[in-house]
Symmetry: D2
């Protein structure tokens, strides 16, 4: 038995999901693809042997035998597509972030609840083997009570100017940081209740013109008193760099690596290794794992482990942290 | 266009190849499977949606539309199956080692040459990204002239007693070391011309009863004067441990890692990380890559990069190193 | 020719300096020691073969042939002792922090300027080989323009309750963080102009009773627009952990290590190494280096590289960051 | 109470010992220095405030109040000086190796035994914190029974041609390897009973002219059945590289590091760190520790932990391994 799935959005992330729907997640029956560019949809359909392709996601939702959708359309459309998919009775996997505003999040969640469908958000780090092992260590008590959370998200290059616009991607603090905010809530086991951000446009002046920044630090204060900090950078020119630490009362955890290929080149007076190119390489195992889990949750009628509520909570932190930067003061959620 | 492939042998390695033929190597059309246990063949066929299954590999070879075979039958049968496959005009991928004796190697190679088919040996390390990058560094001159080769192959536990018998697996020095001997020839760019081995049965006394040992060191002398050493152990109880070094006149290379998951657990006075479970995890990218390359070589009518000649040369070193242990003296190839 | 030096304060840091004055810094003539506990002073004098010992530092200052003093008295007395030493015409090395308030800093600096003596502050990290090399890399342009500063200071256990009182040690954010604030100014080449802190007493409730906290994060905004963050913890129970990163427009630097002894213990399924016990072990080379440089600066009549102005600037950040925690808002310096 | 010590030989190693006798080992009273170049002896005496200096070591031995000597004269003279020192009733610390031939070793040991003085050999690795911790782990049973020993000694550049002559330094396999042979005996707890060497002059052709080689691998067979291998290279141009592994039945140990300064320089697509310059930097703590232990052994009338017997045993392995290379066959000790 397989789950008949349609993919909405066939850009960079959509193509990744297409690959896993076609080859890696054996319980998935990749049955349709929609993209606002119908040529793109057709090409993806041809490449992966998918029967139906559409230029309008609503047409895909109208296809009765589609049981579930994977939404990888532009961030700004997530909420609208989630709502429509829920109303069409589809089970939903939606790439992060759920939306760019809390209002949109709430509308999407209301539709999902009304339709009694499942909604999983694409926080793939929750499926990264190291993050999973970290969560298990925390739950087992290995580090006592978590008291500090540190996380960094650093991209090797800036995003496109189009995507950098707040109305499109949400901006650095929301779009990139949302992964860290989700990890923060999950690993610390407490909600974030206050944030304060500093940031600036320091390396790519062209980002300023579209209203974005390239470097930021975000302080976190958790409901249980714990503290935290997230740093975000668009100029980790050495390579993709994501690291997370949880300091506990009896021990600490450090998640992260900087090396892609286990080769050291040793020349006079220095030792050199490569770095991780980008998030696809770092989370190569996490992407198929999250889709596989979604498919199984639907087939076994279980609640996804990363729900729409989680999606909203992470957006709420990002929105507040962005507001903190804009207003120059701490923001209480 | 795809290549119609049959799999011969559906044990541990055969199942790995089955997975890649079915899901990862998109140019492969996994069309038949044979195993001396016909039930096993049927199960694999069912799991991967393969049309034909056989209890006798000769029946698979008789299937006319099969263009190529992947041989993962017991080591002792490799030569015989290669010969039969060549005579049936199939393109051949054969798991390492090619055979347990040079006589068998020669017979298999003669059949392959006579039939003018391709033969690739499953030295998957040649497709490991770190080994590939190392080879590129050497070829680019980054370390000058390679003068010393060091390699270690260490398993976390002993093999089965049945496989440990020399007539089945070839014994520690041949079966495990053959990967290192192939790397030695490939990375050093020179043939091994003398070997000397020390070894013993030090941890698992039951191995002695079947004629095998659990730890060995093998010195190598290359034709160009370079030197080397391979160590082999069946009791790397901490985890699978494969590392290789090439010391050159102007620099050195170190290939290897000991950590599977990028998580450090930091408790009072110590920092701990996990290890690599086994070869499947270490060479997770290399197995599909070698099959993919084989398929492309056949489809594009190119010579495989790891030929039957390479397969014979590595066996020759292993046979000589085993003889050195038995006779207590250096053996010249 | 040597410099005749008196040591004021023979507690933990004072004893360290005594060792280096006696054995490591060959240009120093360790000639007198004062401690408010005269027995302690006598014991140190006896151990290191120092001629004069005093129970009152003013008596040491009265000793005419003493050319310079190393001040390692309790933090709360630094300013007073610096003033007195300046008035006595002594060259001054003062352990960090210069004082607990800016008023005291200013009084001490005024006395130093009036007396035209030298004043070096004990920011030993500036003499740590890794920090020195990092500064050289930045100055050479290797990472372009520094845009983000990250630093962590984590102790393996809490300080004494007596020292934790703000009026004694200055509290976590000032006392521990002052090293990071100095590194921030030095490595980033820009002044900090705004800070925001979050913190709490999460592990050692007894600290709350004396008015201190055990974990904090401090956001930094630099005058040139760069951003930063410092985290401070008293419960790095795994070991002393000090790491610093500078993210630049063209590269990044990472300073830090977590391992004291280069020994890996590999047991079933895990690899373990030790950690760095405490700051003495981490900065084992930096302490003699700073005293040696101070002695040479005096002998060669050069300005110290870490001046009283630097000492004040770091205190100013710490004071503001503490105030930010108290008032729950960003503080502009 | 201190031990009055004379230093014999003031070359590279002698100067190191002079520093520690003068500054680091507080129980030592550095009272005399001899060097065949009397000007050198005078300079060292002046630099460290030593009273007596001599051009002939016999004059130093004649100085009645000298209780102990540290011998750092050329390797070829070690045995002769040890004999003379023993006959003069001095306690003896002798830099490795004890001698270049077993005959000389035996003569020196006979003189030492007859005179009932102590003799410690300068195998400083036994005082390296990592090696000490490794020995403790083995003794505690943490890795079960040691079954394989791996060690590498690699210098960043070749030695002087004068020293490379076998009659002066002993040649690569004896002079460099003797440290590894001592570690082998100590950590494995068993004597080496057979060796086999391969080697060649591959990088520095000028070494061939003086009868030395630059790269070698030496297989070891221990009396208890364990196996081992040592590799030696004079062209680790990336930096000094000494690593040792002990594989046991229940775990393994890895001793070694490749990084001197904890600074990572991260530039586009690569991460680089420095390397360890040379043995002085790697074993910076071990040299004073061995001298300190020697002084205490004498003062407390305890047997040194590295005896003359140990010195002879390591030379015996080196002599056999050199003979193995010369004769092309395994040599039984």
């Amino acid at each position: 038995m397989t789950l008949r799935i349609g993919l909405i959005g066939a850009g960079r992330m959509g193509t990744t999901f297409a690959h896993h729907l076609a080859f890696t997640v054996t319980d998935a029956d990749f049955a349709a693809v929609a993209d606002s560019n119908v040529e793109t949809a057709k090409q993806v359909a041809a490449r992966y042997g998918v029967k139906n392709s559409y230029g309008d996601y609503r047409a895909l939702l109208d296809q009765k035998d589609i049981e579930a959708v994977v939404i990888a359309s532009p961030t700004g459309t997530h909420a609208e597509v989630v709502k429509a998919a829920a109303e069409a009775g589809k089970q939903i996997f939606c790439e992060k972030p759920l939306a760019l505003t809390l209002k949109e999040c709430d509308e999407a969640l209301a539709a999902v609840e009304k339709a009694k469908v499942k909604l999983q958000i694409g926080f793939m780090r929750r499926y990264d083997p190291a993050c999973v092992a970290a969560k298990q260590q925390i739950d087992s008590g290995a580090i006592g009570t978590p008291v500090m959370f540190k996380s960094m998200g650093r991209d090797p290059k800036r995003t496109s100017l189009e995507f950098a616009k707040r109305e499109n991607g949400g901006g650095l603090i929301l779009d990139m940081g949302v992964h860290d905010y989700d990890l923060a809530r999950w690993l610390m086991g407490s909600e974030v209740e206050r944030v304060y951000s500093e940031g600036g446009c320091l390396v790519y002046p062209e980002l300023k013109e579209v209203g974005d920044i390239d470097n930021a630090v975000v302080n976190l204060k958790f409901a249980n008193g714990a503290v935290g900090n997230v740093d975000l950078s668009r100029n980790a020119v050495y390579g993709y760099d994501v690291r997370t630490e949880v300091i506990g009362s009896k021990g600490s955890l450090f998640i992260g690596n900087l090396q892609q290929t286990p080769l050291l080149v040793m020349t006079p007076n220095s030792i050199t290794h490569d770095t991780i190119p980008y998030f696809m390489e770092r989370f190569v195992e996490a992407y198929p794992a999250e889709i596989r889990d979604f498919v199984r949750c639907v087939m076994e009628d279980r609640q996804p482990q990363v729900t729409g509520r989680d999606g909203r909570a992470a957006v709420a932190i990002g929105v507040a942290a962005t507001k903190s930067l804009d207003e120059g003061k701490p923001i209480t959620l």
